[in-house]
Symmetry: C2
Subunit: 504 residues, 2 copies
Amino acid sequence: MENLKEEIKIQGELVRKLKTEKADKAKISEEVAKLLELKASLPDEGQKKFVLKTPKGTRDFNPYQMSIREGAFTKIIAAFKRHGAETIDTPVFELKETLTGKYGEDSKLIYDLADQGGELLSLRYDLTVPFARYLAMNKINNIKRYHIAKVYRRDNPAMTRGRYREFYQCDFDIAGQFDPMIPDAECVKIVAEILESLELGDYVVKVNDRKILDGMFAACGVPEDKFRSICSAVDKLDKTFWSDVRAEMIDEKGLDPVAADKIGKYVELKGGLDLVDKLLQDENLMKESSAKQGLEDMKLLLKYCELFGVLDKVSFDLSLARGLDYYTGVIYEAVLLGFSHTPGSESEETIGVGSVAGGGRYDKLVGMFDPKNKVVPCVGVSIGIERIFSILEARAMASEKKGRTTSTEVYVISAQKNMLEHRLQLCKELWDSDIKTEQSYKKNPKMLDQFQACENNGIPLAVIIGDSEIKNNVVKLRIIETRAEREVPRSEMIEEIRKELANL
Amino acid sequence: MENLKEEIKIQGELVRKLKTEKADKAKISEEVAKLLELKASLPDEGQKKFVLKTPKGTRDFNPYQMSIREGAFTKIIAAFKRHGAETIDTPVFELKETLTGKYGEDSKLIYDLADQGGELLSLRYDLTVPFARYLAMNKINNIKRYHIAKVYRRDNPAMTRGRYREFYQCDFDIAGQFDPMIPDAECVKIVAEILESLELGDYVVKVNDRKILDGMFAACGVPEDKFRSICSAVDKLDKTFWSDVRAEMIDEKGLDPVAADKIGKYVELKGGLDLVDKLLQDENLMKESSAKQGLEDMKLLLKYCELFGVLDKVSFDLSLARGLDYYTGVIYEAVLLGFSHTPGSESEETIGVGSVAGGGRYDKLVGMFDPKNKVVPCVGVSIGIERIFSILEARAMASEKKGRTTSTEVYVISAQKNMLEHRLQLCKELWDSDIKTEQSYKKNPKMLDQFQACENNGIPLAVIIGDSEIKNNVVKLRIIETRAEREVPRSEMIEEIRKELANL
């Protein structure tokens, strides 16, 4: 195989040399034929020039999918703006060192760019670390921003469950030194508004606090240097059984089984203010100042959620841990109840789609970028738009009425041959009047094909031009749905079309 | 240096071991001190943890820049939709082989991803090749689509001239087997509509045809295998003198000086229908069927442009070549006249900003992806949004009135201490009524700070709550600009706010 490639190369060079030297044509033909023969004996590559696909874990969006996606984005952006958020944008790649040490065990999933000389770069893994870098770099102490953009993870994608290697995140974050839990509660409220506006059915916003988790780990006897790795084991509880998580803690992470079992008791707990009060009575937990602080915060968070009218959607859940290293306080995760599961009891497909938003407080991340370690406390949520999109798409597929992918209002139709110039002039006039207009790109399209184009694409109105219309200085307006037609003077065409469109 | 790092590593391990073994605290402190001393002697890395910057050739967009960018996108998308275009999306990276052999000399500028196992990937270089891949992969013969997304080029960026390594492209393309020049002329029309809606001043859309160029090269005696490389030399004429281009043709590309000088005569020509007619009389050119075909097409294009009312903006320019390999017919480039230049005669800064749109016909690109080489003819234009953005941003900076970056309508203000709960309830009610609302994240903010927030952010209306308002079951509405205040019953708050907002 390698020999064959070498032979092809040599033969190719010979052919090029002969051509350059303007050698005898018969000689060139002979050598070209040899070259082609050699190439033909190359297995496969002759016919199959390449694999026609998108990279693993990625996908294209067709116009129909785009219209669904844009519909969801519109509602999400409306919610962000309703809460006064601005938007920013950052590059799709960052200096590699910007991402280093921010994601704990997940760092192995970061995409690196090839070293082609110059800086070492990685694709962004989320929008939170670039946001923190942006704040530190621009010395911003105070901002409420949303950012909708793609992020990249070399994960093993389960695309049927709405998990991809390239996916959109929709992040809303509030940065600044404020009084406790006021921005934190607003994040819960905004998640509730978004999930309700998208009509995704019933949901619950699980909340917990890293300070409570850390206090609980300390109270259970976990050594401090194991907090993050044990936390990351607890995080798997939404996808797997406690017995597996326990085994990971003990076998992989070297935790004392006694400590693991104590954790096992705590992570079963969920509730509301009652649970907070109960834990505030837990003597072991109360020895840990971090747990006490976290529980006081939780009490405040739940109270503010009540004032925001979303307490019935909130569940204080001690099994909620979140995988990322950078959280320091409240953490959130919103789960659709129609898609929730007991591990093992339902099919794989429904498992991953449950979680549709997540986030938390990360008070120290900006400081990691600041030369003087200046702290800018932050809290935020990320909407899981890909999973939401999977649900909306499945719903649209199941529905009878297919949405439009264009918003064309008028189709210019020629009634006879040789009308192209008239059509072009009509289109110009319509476009210049900001009326969304299309026509056939054929010189002499068939009448039926033109009507068909209107029906296929849901275009409501047609302007018809033919010899008699030209003679009478009129055009014919046709309402596609009713097939009603009427003539209007050419000079009043735009006005009449505006009237018709207003009535539709 | 490497020894020092090794020493730090060993010392670090010792400290961790002592801690795990719960060794004598004094001993641990001693060893920790040694470790810190070692770390301090490490040059730099102690203080300067990393460089706080975005990668070379990239930038962040702050909220103010984003509002300018979104304003431009809104107008551009409106034009695309006015012409009935749908939108699609493709992944930011493609299989490396998808991009191979599509960009000629520019291929060296493609960003590759690191080989981390699995497929070899590259960042997209434009939106045209992914579009062609999409059409072939989904067997689409017929689509009019726009795509607005970021592309990546390892170029030497001149950021003052609006050139970046990461930049947005706004592409509009028409794919399908249609009658000559009808979609091609629509591309000129859409560029004209966009440039006019953005109010960028006077402009010209240069047009040429690869068939005319190829015919001209043949007529001048350029060997066929040099067509593309000579074309790519001609492409540099908008940035450099003919003498340099001539030298590149002869010295680098091995062209006969006689042929180069003949080309030199042709590329000076520009005009309209008159020039087409003149060239149709050129005997040398007429021997080349490709030139004849190209000139006939050009005649038709100019005629259709006239019907679209944009002929006065079009210049048939034989020096227009476009760098990319894949064009097969008409090529376009729109240039702002306020920013045009004679090489050498103006400052560097104005040179690059001139070109604000470009494109052309690429009839064979989709076939390159199709296993059966099935042809889907395509034509399209790409709007140079980054350059347009540079101009709009400079203009906004120079203007007195600074635009808003949020659209918040109401700010909820507490008139006394201990009003937080009331504020939270008011916010809830306003958000639930879809009124864009903000408040202070402080528990007891100062009255003046709250008014200041309204003025700084252009928020038109305030809702004020205090003890007397609670007692009387009212809220106070304040119009920030006029400072007019009035009380409204709490139950009529939403309705009254809607009225005020409608009047603003």
